[in-house]
């Protein structure tokens, strides 16, 4: 791709996006990453797929039920629509289960695009962990469709040292099905995590949230819209942003409740923490409600570390840097606590802790 037709900051949905960082990452030359992809997998049993610069690497993979296949993007999303070509697909039949699937995306420079599709039939269950490492621009489109009672738990960590990661999720969640997607941005890259989740069945559950940690002049953002189309749906968007130095972390979360989607229970919690006053956190909570019997809790706050808490920890013998790390980690923990599998949750917590140690 030689000319990138990217959204501009004049468009409301892209006003905080760092398309310059994306362009620079796309134009970056490829260079050996010095990372063995095998080291990026967590030590848990399950199917594994490795993509290096968007190309499937059989040597580091044992895909199990996951197929590697070419796909055409069925979206008009400006970045997601670029994710065409070789990708992966997980199709599970009714009552089938596939857990602890790991997908590693390693970039060495330049741009790479991988489409993905997850289709779970009624009562199927899958858990998935994705890791982005290396550098360059990694662009992903993931289409998700969950049948009645199906459950998908997905954890995604962005730990590229530089470059840019853009993720577009488009999900349809059927009756009594559950989708939980948790993201951690704890690398040096720029990012745009973009989601459109639609609760198409009665009593569906959708959650998309996580933590973005930024430092230096880095910019990361999440922009998620959840649409309730049927009754008795529940959605959670719990995001935490921690910004140091001159960095910018932005969170935009939207809940739409369609006419007739009664007894919707929506929760939005957007919280930002500034480690220095030169940093920026942008928050944009949005609610659009066309039903009258609806509960939508929402909160958006930005602040600094609580000085009282900091002194309290110090007075018990904990040094200032460690006290700050402890409080910041606690701030982030909320958003990562939703990850169901303990080893995955611990690995994500360790990534966050490593980031804090470097930033504080």
């Amino acid at each position: 791709m030689t000319v990138l037709d990217l959204p501009s900051a004049r468009q409301e949905a892209w006003r905080w996006s760092d398309m310059e960082a994306l362009r620079a990452a796309a134009a970056s030359p490829q260079a050996p990453a010095g990372i063995n992809p095998a080291d990026l997998f967590l030590d848990i049993d399950g199917p594994r797929l490795c993509f290096v610069d968007g190309v499937f690497e059989p040597a580091h993979s044992r895909p199990g039920p996951v197929e590697v296949t070419r796909q055409i993007a069925a979206t008009d999303h400006p970045l997601g629509s670029l994710a065409i070509g070789e990708g992966w697909a997980l199709h599970l039949g009714a009552e089938h289960a596939a857990t602890c699937i790991q997908i590693v995306h390693l970039g060495t420079g330049g741009e790479n695009h991988v489409p993905a599709r997850i289709l779970l039939a009624d009562d199927a269950v899958a858990t998935l962990v994705e890791t982005f490492a290396g550098t360059g621009w990694a662009n992903r489109l993931t289409a998700i469709a969950l049948g009645k009672g199906a459950r998908l738990m997905r954890s995604v960590r962005l730990v590229q040292t530089g470059g840019f990661v853009s993720i577009r999720d488009e999900a349809e969640i059927g009756e009594a099905a559950s989708l939980v997607s948790i993201f951690l941005g704890a690398g040096g890259m720029g990012s745009r995590i973009d989601g459109a989740l639609t609760l198409t069945g009665k009593g569906a559950f959708a959650e998309m949230g996580g933590a973005l940690l930024t430092s230096g002049t880095q910019r990361q953002e999440a922009a998620v819209a959840v649409r309730h189309e049927q009754i008795e749906g529940t959605s959670r968007q719990i995001w935490r942003a921690v910004a140091a130095d001159q960095s910018v972390a932005s969170l935009a979360a939207r809940v739409e409740v369609a006419r007739g989607a009664q007894q919707t229970d929506g929760e939005q919690s957007l919280r930002g923490l500034l480690l220095q006053r030169t940093a920026t956190v942008n928050l944009k909570p949005e609610l659009e409600i066309f039903a009258d019997d609806v509960k939508c809790a929402h909160g958006a706050t930005v602040g600094e570390l609580d000085r009282n808490a900091l002194f309290y920890l110090q007075s018990r013998g904990i040094g200032e840097a460690q006290a700050k790390a402890l409080l910041t980690h606690a701030f982030v923990t909320d958003a990562l606590a939703r990850i169901g599998e303990e080893p995955v949750r611990e690995a994500f917590a360790a990534d966050a802790a490593a980031w804090l140690e470097a930033a504080l």
Partner: protein, 247 residues
Amino acid sequence: MLNIQNLHAEVDGKEILKGLSLSLNAGEVHAIMGPNGAGKSTLGYVLGGRNGYAATSGSVTFDGQDLLELEPHERAAAGLFLGFQYPVEIPGVSNVQFLREAANAQRRNRGEAQLSGAEFLKLARAQAAALGMDAEMLKRPVNVGFSGGEKKRNEMVQMGILNPKLAILDETDSGLDIDALKAVGEGINRIMRAPDKAVLLITHYQRLLDYVQPDFVHVLAGGRIVRSGGPELALELEREGYGALAA
């Protein structure tokens, strides 16, 4: 053990302590009493090293060290414990994690061996039991959702685990019902009544002193000690009020 000489201190550019002098020896319990606004809490924070509570002149030595030179966590490692009037709630950090980090950070600072998870838990459970605090509360986030009494018991559990040489307890009796007051008073006696330890109780009322007998009582007013005496002074204050004595 603690020697404060002619201490002046400011908060937000306003002088609060105006030449306070006080000496505590090992084995002694001192009570500082005084009206609201006398500078009692400021004294605690200056000794603890809180940001914004700056000593402008005078000296404080603790076991021969210049206390004012030390960072707050170094003061803790040196054996100073500050009990808070309003213990802080810290969501997302469990009591166990907090106290183990604190105990081990102090040990590191003193060049001592670290406590293992099991050793720490044993110590924490024993201290919680001694204070009548449910061991389950050790797993909960620090002070979150604790009642006033539970927070103060938690302060005493922390003091028991950290085992300081000198405890400065700021209004530890405020907000306590009679049972909690008794438990906290017994905790202070059990943990701190020893020939090599000392306690500075900062309090507005005499009632805690029914449980923890002070050896010396001082009246703090207008930023300095205006009168010192034995335990009988506390009773006199309770009877006559601060007005007459501080004048």
